[in-house]
Each structure stands twice: as structure tokens, then as C-alpha cells.
């Protein structure tokens, strides 16, 4: 549209070189310079795209590794609580006096919370919140059973701290 306006304002053929010819040369020249002037930006864009693709790939790998590690930690923690609770539930069911029924009630509550915990859904928005509630309930269970919550779980010297 710029060249169109130019044609209207200056009649062609008044000089040696036709105006249209001059415009064509100038515009191809501008394209050539454009390539140079814009090179940095173009390469920057290309680099960004390539880097983004590679970064995404590496990120997915890293995230996957981190997720599986973190998930395994949570799984083993919650699994440990469940095994602990089920064992005690089993032990306490043998004699159900009033004192024990209170303990069993709290154990049942912990087991119920763990059973409801959605392991298979890492995007569950209350994952951390629910995990904290399970941890709290486990501490309550330990307190009621009169067991130190940082007890050692096996003959190995691995402490039950997560």
C-alpha cells in the first residue's frame, strides 16, 4: 500500500529509471537487509523452540524420576501406617474391653483414612492436606497405644521418620 500511494504522488518516467523499477530494487534490498537485521531474532526464536523441546523432554524425565521417588516415599510411609494399624487392630480384637474399644476406634479411623487416600491420583488437590491428617491420626494412635512414634521399625537401624 505504501508503493501504491507513491505512484499516485509522483508520476512515473520523469527520471531515467522508472519509479516502479526503483521501488522493486529498493524493496528487494530491504528484504536482504531484513534477513540480516532480523537474523538475531530469528535464531533466537529457533533456539528457543529447540531448547524448549529438549527442555520439555529432559523435564519430563526428571519429573518422572522425582515423582516416582517422592511417590514411593509417601507410599511406603502410608503403607507402614496401614500395616502397623492392621497389626494392632488384630492384636486388640482378641480382648475387647472398654479400654481397648477406644483404641480400636482410633485405629479404625486411621485405617479408614488410609483406605480413602487416593494414591493413584497425584493431581488430587488435597493430597498434602490428607497426608497431614493421616500423620496426625497416626501420632494420636501412637499416643493412645503408648508407643513412641519415632520407634525403630526393624532390626535395621532405620528410624521411622519420613
Amino acid at each position: 500500500m505504501l508503493s501504491g500511494g507513491g505512484v499516485g504522488a509522483h508520476p512515473a518516467g520523469s527520471r531515467g529509471l522508472g519509479f516502479r523499477g526503483a521501488m522493486a530494487a529498493a524493496s528487494s534490498g530491504a528484504d536482504m537487509f531484513d534477513d540480516i537485521v532480523m537474523a538475531e531474532e530469528r535464531f533466537h526464536g529457533e533456539g528457543y523452540r529447540e531448547g524448549y523441546a529438549e527442555g520439555s523432554h529432559i523435564g519430563v524425565v526428571e519429573g518422572r524420576r522425582h515423582g516416582s521417588l517422592h511417590g514411593a516415599k509417601i507410599g511406603s510411609e502410608v503403607g507402614c501406617y496401614l500395616g502397623f494399624a492392621l497389626t494392632w487392630q488384630c492384636l486388640l480384637h482378641k480382648c475387647t474391653d472398654e479400654k481397648n474399644s477406644k483404641k480400636i476406634k482410633v485405629l479404625d479411623s486411621l485405617i479408614g483414612m488410609i483406605r480413602k487416600f487416593p494414591y493413584e491420583d497425584p493431581t488430587y488437590d488435597k493430597l498434602q492436606e490428607d497426608l497431614e491428617k493421616i500423620r496426625g491420626k497416626f501420632k494420636q494412635v501412637c499416643s493412645i497405644l503408648n508407643i513412641q512414634s519415632d520407634f525403630r521399625i526393624s532390626t535395621e537401624r532405620s528410624s521411622l521418620t519420613f
Partner: protein, 275 residues
């Protein structure tokens, strides 16, 4: 055993208050440990009895709040471990006549808890302070709560029940607590404690600038937007940080304070005739 030595009655008199210092050491003979409660992972910061006397709350640097129940045989049993705060919990306090618990934390929030279906749950989070909340205090009715913070402000929160006339939104059946007043510009350092007198309604603060301040609600009170004015200010109440203040529940205007300077001071506060 130490014997009681109530000495050092240094009197600093001014218009509205006088100061009495006492170092009191109780004889230990009548004092024995009945039981020890274990469970917190590290420093336990605060402990409070519920008005019924059957419940006890504790909080700790381990970010948790524990609720204990006492049965007839004086056996203590953990009823709940609440992991709602994301940082150290500094203070716990009970509602004056309901089983509603409030906690203040380094995570800049105040949280409220009540019992729901056999377990305790966090039913409200009061957000607004810009730094550690050191302490909280209910007024006599329990409908309002004062919180003091490292951000040098005291905030007054008011309870709005579902279906309230003012149209404050509530989620479900839980009341909403809304900040209705912010006392800023009075304190020059962190505020460690706040005490709300249930007899007179006066609000006292203990501050890191060694001062004690008393605020009075300006009447006529507008419940939606109450205003408090500084009624008394003792600039050098102690020679170091004032850590805690407490109103006597029977004698109006009798305030006790304690400080890093190792002293406990008693204050006689008289409400100004005209605010």
C-alpha cells in the same frame, strides 16, 4: 524448698496506673508432678485448659496442635493431633464458653478448631497478618478475637454465623471470621501478647519495645467497624521485652505483666472517665 520472698515494691505512679514489682517464689512442698504428656517432637510453646476443664490443648514448634481429654481417673488421652499450620505454633487459647480452640502461628495465620464427628478439625483460617502471630485472645462473649503479631499490629476478628444479617458469606455451617479492626501505628516493635479483659473489655498488649499499652473500644460501638483508642501507654514498663500480660478475672483493672528483665509487674489500670 524456697520460701516466698515478696520484695521490691517499686512504685511508679502516674495518672492511670501504678506499678508494683514482685519476685515471688512459691514453696515447692505442695507441688508435685501428677503426669507427663508426651507426643510433641520438640519445644512445646503453649498449653491451655478448655473452660469445661476436661480438655487440654498444647502446641509446639513441630507445627502441630494436640487436644487431650482428661477422664475421671485423671488419665490424659490424646483426642486429636492437628497438623493444619505450616509453621511453628506459638499459642493456643480456648473460647470462653464453647469447645472452640484458636491457635496462632509463625505461618502468619490464626486457626480455629472444633469437634466434628468424633474428631477435631480446623474450621477457620484467619489470614491478614504479615508476620508471625504471637498470641490470640477472645473477648468475654467469644464472638470476637484479638490477635497480635510481629507485624506490629493487633487485629480484631468478628464471628459471622451462616445467614448473618450483614451478608458475610459463610461456607457450609461454619461461621466466618472477618477482620473488623486493625490497630496499627501504635507499637514500634513486635507484639508478644494481647489480653482482653472479660470484666471491662479493655485490651492490653505486651510489646517488644518494653511498653504496655491499653486500648478501649470507643462507644457507641459499631459492631461492624469497631474503633479502639489508646487509653494508656507505659513506655518503659519493663527494662526489656514484655512477654506476657494477663488481666485478673475478678478484680477489674488489675493487670500482671512479665518480661525478659526477669520481673513480674502488677498494674492498676483505671479507665479514663471520658474517652
Amino acid at each position: 524448698a524456697q520460701t516466698a520472698t515478696a520484695s521490691d515494691t517499686a512504685g511508679v505512679k502516674s495518672e492511670h496506673h501504678e506499678r508494683l514489682v514482685a519476685h515471688v517464689l512459691l514453696p515447692c512442698s505442695s507441688f508435685s508432678c501428677v503426669t507427663t504428656l508426651e507426643g510433641h517432637e520438640n519445644e512445646v510453646k503453649s498449653v491451655a485448659w478448655a473452660p469445661s476443664g476436661n480438655l487440654l490443648a498444647t502446641c509446639s514448634r513441630d507445627k502441630s496442635v494436640w487436644v487431650w481429654e482428661v477422664d475421671e481417673e485423671e488419665e490424659y488421652e490424646c483426642v486429636s493431633v492437628l497438623n493444619s499450620h505450616t509453621q511453628d505454633v506459638k499459642h493456643v487459647v480456648w473460647h470462653p464458653n464453647q469447645e472452640l480452640l484458636a491457635s496462632a502461628s509463625y505461618d502468619d495465620t490464626v486457626k480455629l478448631y472444633h469437634e466434628e464427628e468424633d474428631d477435631w478439625v480446623c474450621c477457620a483460617t484467619l489470614e491478614g497478618h504479615e508476620s508471625t502471630v504471637w498470641s490470640v485472645a477472645f473477648d468475654r462473649s467469644g464472638k470476637r478475637l484479638a490477635s497480635c503479631s510481629d507485624d506490629k499490629t493487633v487485629r480484631i476478628w468478628r464471628q459471622y454465623k451462616p445467614g448473618n444479617e450483614e451478608g458475610v458469606a459463610c461456607s457450609g455451617t461454619d461461621p466466618t471470621w472477618k477482620c473488623v479492626c486493625n490497630l496499627s501505628g501504635f507499637h514500634t516493635r513486635t507484639i508478644y501478647d494481647v489480653a482482653w479483659c472479660h470484666l471491662t473489655g479493655a485490651l492490653a498488649t505486651a510489646c517488644g519495645d518494653d511498653a504496655i499499652r491499653v486500648f478501649e473500644e470507643s462507644s457507641p460501638a459499631a459492631p461492624q467497624q469497631p474503633t479502639f483508642s489508646l487509653a494508656a501507654h507505659v513506655a518503659r514498663a519493663h527494662s526489656q521485652d514484655v512477654n506476657c500480660v494477663a488481666w485478673n478475672p475478678k478484680e477489674p483493672g488489675l493487670l500482671a505483666s512479665c518480661s525478659d528483665d526477669g520481673e513480674i509487674a502488677f498494674w492498676k489500670y483505671q479507665r479514663p472517665e471520658v474517652c
